[in-house]
């Protein structure tokens, strides 16, 4: 655990080497396995970070906040790579992807993991920005990989909106640096997060305010918050399903992580505007907007993409409310959403493959034609809609109850959004899962393990949350202020 090869460097080195290898190795079976192996090793490296007790360096930082994100990131990255191996095999059989594109796909998968991990452990706000840009680029390419007209259109839209968002985020980053220079001096320390947070109370509040607005708008685009969410449903619907799973489960979280880091600046500087009301408003708008939009969806992946917007809205709302309880609930909601939503996308990916369509009206009676997939989807949708006893229910309950205690009106609006979304999801679920089956009844060669693993975790978390995790999250919630 010393020298060059420690947990921190391995989390970056493994994906980087794997990306290089996957780019040159032919043969999809080998690369799919290598992809799984690399993702698994990265997960192990991430877990070893729990034993990491060293002061933060100039570029890298491991603290209690980002370790949660890194472990979640690498875990879902690993399960998605398992799902992806089977999924991609099918795409190859049906000729939607050629071996050359697959090589590219696998390499990009690891580049994306590298970018996200780098963004999470960066102790430098400039480096974090570069890493998020890298991860975005990799996903843009993957969204367009089918090269159909719709896929290219989606990739283009994603690209343009994300680039503008990223440009705003950089402008905000520059403003933070400008605010820091008079206090901490020029050079690298003006961008090192741990130094900034120690001195942030003395920064010029006016500059910080404008910086936060730019950062929130910029990274908020990547989170998929309501006024700037337009790329998200297209990117989810037109790309390969493993990418939909990592987009919803991981990339949105990484952007959210960036916002949380900057939010901590704002709370520590008493003269600056409180970031809470802004986040609460945008979060609530996202929830309500997405909840109503759920009713009009005709494409199954688009449906769950809108559900992701809704959940990111809830999470941002929770962090905007602030305080130990709401922050705790926000963290829990984020973890549960990542696990549930990527689990749902795994199921949906196999369903869309066997039925040969993503149209909701053409998918019926799944519990009869494909019982395992059908019931997994039922469980997943019940979880994401927030029914007890699953994990999402618990976190949503905590968010609503903590909001009720402080601002009943807001809580009513939030509950309205939750109920509307709940209705839409159950309405659609009725159609998918029950009734006379349509389309192919051919048995499906699915990889059930990732689906079951995710759903089981969500179920267990809803019933019994280990005290270790509870104390950990409580501690992080206090950090977030």
């Amino acid at each position: 655990m010393n020298g060059l090869f420690n947990g921190v460097s391995l989390v970056l080195i493994i994906p980087a080497i794997a990306a290089a290898l996957l780019a040159i190795l032919p043969g999809y079976r080998l690369s799919a396995r290598l992809n799984v192996l690399a993702s698994f090793l990265t997960l192990l490296a991430a877990l070893s970070l729990f034993a990491w007790h060293r002061p933060p360096g100039t570029y890298f930082l491991i603290d209690d906040l980002n370790i949660v994100f890194i472990v979640l990131n690498t875990f879902v990255g690993f399960t998605t790579s398992v799902f992806s191996a089977r999924y991609i095999g099918h795409e190859l059989d049906t000729g939607r992807l050629t071996p050359n594109y697959l090589r590219f796909y696998h390499a990009m998968y690891q580049v994306m993991m590298f970018g996200m991990n780098l963004a999470l452990i960066a102790n430098n706000i400039g480096l974090m920005w570069v890493a998020i840009e890298l991860a975005t680029l990799a996903t843009v390419v993957m969204v367009g990989i089918y090269r159909t007209h719709e896929a290219l259109e989606a990739a283009w839209k994603y690209f343009i909106l994300a680039s503008v968002g990223i440009a705003f985020a950089l402008f905000g980053t520059i403003l933070v640096y400008m605010a820091a220079v008079p206090v901490v001096g020029e050079g690298l320390q003006g961008m090192t997060w741990t130094i900034l947070i120690a001195h942030v109370a003395k920064f010029d509040p006016a500059l910080l305010n404008v910086a936060f607005v730019f950062l929130f708008l910029g990274y908020g685009t990547k989170v998929g918050l309501a006024p700037v969410h337009a790329w998200l449903p297209d990117a989810h619907a037109e790309g390969p399903t493993p990418i939909s799973a990592v987009l919803s489960g991981l990339l949105l979280n990484v952007a959210l992580y960036a916002i949380l880091r900057f939010k901590m600046f704002m709370t520590l500087n008493v003269a600056a505007i409180a970031p809470g009301p802004l986040m609460v408003t945008v979060g609530l708008v996202s929830v309500l907007f997405a909840a109503f939009m759920l009713y009009r969806r005709r494409d199954i992946k688009r449906l769950f993409a809108y559900s992701s917007i809704e959940h990111m809205g809830i999470i941002v709302f929770a962090f905007g409310m602030g305080g130990p309880l709401a922050n705790f609930a926000g963290l829990l909601q984020m973890t549960m959403h990542s696990l549930t939503k990527s689990g749902i996308f795994f199921t949906v990916g196999h369903i869309a493959q066997v039925k040969g369509t993503q149209r909701i009206s053409e998918i019926r009676g799944l519990t009869e034609s494909h019982p395992v997939l059908g019931w997994s989807l039922v469980l997943g949708v019940i979880a994401i809609a927030g029914l007890p006893p699953l994990g999402v229910f618990m976190s949503e309950f905590l968010i609503v109850s903590s909001t009720f205690a402080r601002n009943p009106l807001l809580a009513v609006a939030l509950v309205l959004g939750l109920l509307v979304a709940f209705g839409a999801l159950l309405l659609r679920l009725q159609g998918f899962a029950f009734g006379e089956p349509t389309g192919s009844r051919a048995p499906v060669r699915a990889s059930y393990l990732p689906i079951f693993a995710h759903l089981a975790l969500v179920l267990v978390a809803g019933i019994y949350l280990p005290p270790m995790i509870v104390t950990w999250f409580q501690h992080v919630a206090k950090m977030l202020g």
Binding site: G126, I174, V210
Partner: protein, 220 residues
Amino acid sequence: MHGLDFDVAHLLAGGLVLVSFMLLYQDRLYAMLNVYALHAVVLSLSVGWQAYIQDAPHLYITALIALVFKAIIIPVALHRMIVQLGIHREIETVAGIGPTMLAGIGLVGLSLAVMLHITASADLLAREDLAFALSVLLLGLLIMVTRRNAVGQVVGFMSLENGLVLAATGAKGMPLVVEISVAFSVLIAFIVIGIFLFRIRERFDTVDVRALDRVRGDRR
């Protein structure tokens, strides 16, 4: 701060805003590319001047990237692509030139009002630079939203990005500026190569509001 140092920096940054305005009313692709090349040259001069007055040699690299990559390679590549794809014609704009220019003036006024107000404590050069940079950024955004054509949008994005480089170099002693400008160049190269590799002739006809509607509203 010498008078001359400041004046030249001011002139170049102001020049960048002016060239952004010129980009705003171009309605032909070739003309747009030429003006963009000019934009990049002005940026390169501005960054080079900052490198000189701040005594920061690494900024010369950024200036060189701006000159070679943005002012020469990218415009030439896009130019050849337009010839190959046969799309050299007028760009459909969303609004007329008059309203667009008025909106641009409004945006510049807004950014000056905001930035000069909040940076009262920073040094004069950085203030002006930031205000101009935000103007270029917002004008770039305006260029993007008023074009219905993919190349037009890319040029708008690239001018927006030039504004960011201006802001980054204006912030004295900011680390990672070179890395960030390299990252941006990679981003742009990605788009240009992407457009080219996909050979999506029809996409240039269809990156407009109508086609986007088709995807947005759950087609089929």
